[in-house]
Every structure is written in structure tokens, then in C-alpha cells.
Homo-oligomer: 147 residues x 2
Amino acid sequence: MAERATLAAGTSPVAVADRVHSAAIHLLRAVRRVDAGVGVGPAKLSALSVLVFGGPRSIAALARAEQVRLPTMSRLVQALERDGLATRTADPADRRASRVHPTALGRSVLRRGRARRVEFLARRLASLPQADREVLSRAAELIEGLI
Amino acid sequence: MAERATLAAGTSPVAVADRVHSAAIHLLRAVRRVDAGVGVGPAKLSALSVLVFGGPRSIAALARAEQVRLPTMSRLVQALERDGLATRTADPADRRASRVHPTALGRSVLRRGRARRVEFLARRLASLPQADREVLSRAAELIEGLI
DNA sequence: TGGATTTAGTTAGCATTGCTAACTAAATTG
DNA sequence: CAATTTAGTTAGCAATGCTAACTAAATCCA
């Protein structure tokens, strides 16, 4: 019984956490299929997005922004470079570090890849009443603020 | 300009899609760290959750529920069985199919694993006003309905 | 009825994306 | 200046996705 209560509908922190958690899993599984046609992969796309919309930065800073470890980001940046989506320049102030920049190709691929996922969602959102979209918008802000 | 508009705040389908998409990515990256201590992994935990809360079913039905391909779910179920978290019985009505059931151990592991993730979120949600939790709850329902 | 198609499941093999351990080299600190 | 911290790499492993190719059972239809 106690464990059933965990999943019961309601607005207790635990009940809401469970529903939000499930919704996030299902949402990302659904959009993952859309990525297939881009040929870049979600981790690379997401790192590229940080570079394009947040500006060039070091691998360590990218790793922190993406919440992954340094070796993981090191490998992702190598792949981005190999694919011509990003370049590295020496950091004049710190000879250990390098700065990662998106290339023009990187910007264009990001735009296309992001557009695919977002359009997939947007098509579905378009059928909702405006008030529901406002709820989703506010919810996204709340989530970003929490973590 | 046109591409900047994609990221501008607003409640157009595209703007909301973008924010919801990012929020889902960041949410799951944050809870992923919590999984580490469970030793089961999110895909197995999620499949187990379907079995426990939705009832026993075939591998194909599980794959559909989890939005993965049949070979992926076949391998996940083999791992669940190997770990003693689920068992398979023959389907009397269809000799190709088998029914997957959670074991008592599976139920208990699910409870613990889920609890970790959900508690991680719930601790943060507890600091929100009730109205905000209602927004998140409603948003989760909307997302599940869309996909 | 019987051949064709669909569906359930497996195996094999590959790609992506996480991780830790162990290392080098540069920067910082006491 | 020695000790520690920080940036980055390499190597190797684990989890989880996929397609291709296959078997076997069920279903469809002419």
C-alpha cells in the first residue's frame, strides 16, 4: 500500500516528481527517433548548442555545462572537430587549456538538427490550446530553475 | 534573426517546444547521477516499472511501451532475468510469445531505485509553492498525452 | 487447404555515450 | 620551490540504442 501511494495522483512532491520524471523519459525517447536522420547524435548536438548559443569555451567548461566528465567531453570535442563542426584554438592565458569554437558548418548542422526535434514537438504542441502551452512553458522554466 | 526567434521566449509552439526539450534533457542528466548507486541502470528500471505497475506482458508489448526495438527489449529482459528481477512463462495462447513477470526482488529493487531518483527530485520540488507543483503535474500529463 | 505475409523472438555486430584509472603538463598555493 | 590542483588525453569497460539476418509460429487470403 505504502508503495502504491508513491504513484497515486496528487501534488505532493513525490507524486509530482514521479510524473515529471516519467514524462521526461518518454518525451526524450520519442524525439530520439527524430535524431536518426541528422547523423550527429544528441550529445554532440547538445554540446554544439552550448557553443553556438553560449559562446566558445574550454573543454572543461563545456563538460561542466553538460554535466559530464572531462574525458567524455574531450572525446565529444574530438569528434566534433573530426566532423568539421568545431575547431580549437590555444588559450593565450592558460597553456593547458584550449578554446572550442563552432564552425559555420557546425552552426548550420545545429540549426537543422535542433529544428527536427523541435518541429517534431511543435507539431504536437500546435494542437493544444494556448493555455496549455503556457503551462508547459512555465513548467520548463521551473525545471531549469530547480536543477 | 530567424534562427534567434527559435529561442526567444514566448508561447508559440516552436518556442515552447524548445524550452520543454531543453528542460527534459537537463532534468534527466541531473537524475542520471543518482542512478549510479543502484546498480541496475535506467532502461532496466523503466522496463521493470512497466511490469510492476502495468502488469506482466510480452517482450514485444514491453518494447512498444518503452518505445524501443524488439532486439533491444529482448536483451534487456534477458538481463533482468539473469539478475533475478523478472521471469518468463510460456504464453498458452501464442507459442511464439512469452510473458514477462517481475519477481519479488524486482519489485523491491524497483522501489529502491525509483525512490532514489524520485526523492532527488522531490527534495527540490518540496521547496516550491503548491501552485508551481500543480503546474508541473499538469505539464507532465500534457506531455504524456502528446506522445 | 495451402502458400504468402506478418509477428514474436533471438543472435550477431556496430555506434554512441557514459564512466574510472592512470598519465602528462601547466598553473596555483603555501 | 615543493605540493597540490586543474586541463586534457588515452585506454578500456559498461549500458543501451540500432539494423540485418535468421527461426518459428500465427494469420490472411485466394
